[in-house]
Symmetry: C2
Subunit: 334 residues, 2 copies
């Protein structure tokens, strides 16, 4: 593939300028650009600059507010609510991070209900940021209806990811962020594009039939990971990232979008725990390391998130590569 | 199978008397017996009277304190800690339920760290009880090392279940309680006993080799449901039901037990949320029902937990059946 190499700083400038030229004020542009460059830094291209034209389309249709000013409200002693003002999710995260961290430290556990935001992408950045501050964190979001309920045949739940982070001493946090579906939607789309098959566990056809054809799965429904157990998690996440915080269920977001396209609108629930307040303050960090040492003593293992942390040394030194065609597409948006 | 039928009341008397004759005071006996009969009522025999001889063995070895008096302490504004005083888990749950529910209602979200308890069995009773009180609840516990980490070959994590409950209006709560492993330990043991094979996804042999022989899996390691994603959940639960609350990791519990047998000692983390404090107070119940209606509109589906609720009508009317051999074994303990 023909690619263009650039430094992380140049990638940030490029994305910020592109968003600013398409309707974002400086604060909004920097926040969304910063999130995409975090993904590039960690070699997660699917959440990187690849998303820039899509984000611009959201601005151009007028759905996304490029001048969003999120509001932060403490709606209960341990519940912070951020209204994203119809902007991109990262400015909502920025607004909510410190109030949530402070509230968790003060009380032991606290929750952040994020509402009315566009393009909630990977959630590891927000849970990692909380773990960098010494907290244990969980994040949940729902999306479009792609996954069938257990026993059913029609897409109803989102691929509904869950993020988790645990703080470590003198090491980057342990972080994972995984969909409730067996495969990511994008992986199935790529298999369809490239003419590859997918495992039978990935999904079913429109009539509930078993298939390994990604095109048939895309017309039918994806399945939860591990079958009904992943579907249970998807159902849980529908409830706690939808009705609990007054946001759409996945199947409702289709009507909301009304075929306009661009990044979807939604909400997110983040729960933060301060382990220092849970009765093992002198030991929890060392105790976690005991487990990590046992994991890593087994050949073939790695800690969740470690590949991303390793990528950072590489991209800081060598910069990143994006497809030439993407670079051209971005130039045309400026 | 030769069985003995009895009413739920008679089952409760039988179990209470048996525990009382083997070292429990009345309060401790009633709590543990009540939990086993809840399981029988819901036709979950694996957590029912079947466990009674095992519980008695824990009392006889002196590991379980039949006169436990759990202590409740608020260790942070939204963290309640219950020390189970080395008794059976249900008296710890009884002690912690109301303080947790009150704290969640007052603050929005709260946590209960349960420590030093024996025989944490199914966790749906405690999350269901919280949902009966109008709360959304999560429960997590770790156990013996049975499950390999992602990429590894040796048992390290417990089968680490997670329970979840969501309150409903004019209907029993939505409740699930599922292991992080692909199969329950007991299911693999039963397959071994009956000479059946297990799916390749259930586990691996001692050298990491693929197998469908349950005996080989029992000597090797179980696998997480859906592969590495279930293993990630098991890892998360190790951390939040172990180091976070100052309790054992699964691999450490083996040393603690020192081959004595009987029910294992451990801890449990419960998180309770009051949805009325999360910004959708007027709508969350109805909104949840919107999702449940969509699920049930698909042929072949049911809501998690519904089989247990249906069983209650049957067992209230007809009582329960236990194997004749179990009834004999219990008689011999009296």
């Amino acid at each position: 593939m023909d690619t263009v190499r650039m430094s992380l700083d140049d990638a940030l400038s490029l994305a910020t300028t592109c968003l600013a030229k398409n309707g974002c004020d400086e604060h909004n542009a920097k926040a969304m650009a910063g999130r995409m460059v975090q993904a590039e830094r960690d070699l997660c291209a699917s959440h990187g600059l690849f998303r820039l034209p899509w984000c611009v389309s959201g601005l151009k249709t007028g759905r996304v507010n490029g001048h969003a000013q999120p509001s932060v409200e403490q709606i209960a002693p341990t519940v912070i609510r951020v209204d994203g003002d119809a902007g991109f999710a990262p400015i909502g995260h920025q607004a909510g991070h410190q109030p949530l961290a402070d509230c968790a430290r003060q009380n032991g556990i606290a929750a952040l209900a994020l509402a009315d935001m566009f393009h909630i992408s990977a959630m590891w950045p927000e849970v990692e940021a909380l773990a960098d501050d010494g907290l244990c964190a969980f994040a949940f979001t729902a999306s479009y209806p792609y996954v069938a309920p257990a026993g059913g045949t029609k897409a109803l739940y989102g691929t509904n990811p869950m993020g988790f982070a645990w703080p470590r001493k003198d090491a980057p946090p342990l972080v994972f962020d995984q969909a409730s579906s067996a495969m990511a939607r994008g992986e199935i789309q790529i298999a369809a594009r490239d003419g590859h098959s997918v495992p039978e566990t990935a999904g079913i056809g429109p009539n509930g039939e078993a298939t390994t054809d990604p095109n048939v799965v895309l017309e039918g429904a994806q399945l939860g990971f591990g079958g009904y157990k992943g579907a249970s998690l998807a159902l849980m996440i529908e409830l706690i990232a939808g009705p609990l915080i007054g946001q759409h269920l996945s199947f409702e977001s289709v009507d909301d979008d009304a075929g306009v396209g661009g990044p979807p609108k939604g909400g997110e629930l983040i729960i933060a725990i301060d382990p220092a307040r849970f009765g093992s303050a002198d030991r929890y960090l060392a105790h976690g390391e005991t487990l990590f040492a046992e994991i890593l003593a087994q050949e073939g293992t790695r800690l969740p998130g470690s590949r991303r942390f390793e990528a950072r040394a590489t991209t800081a030194r060598d910069g990143i590569e994006i497809p030439h065609s993407l670079n051209e597409a971005i130039s045309e948006l400026m």
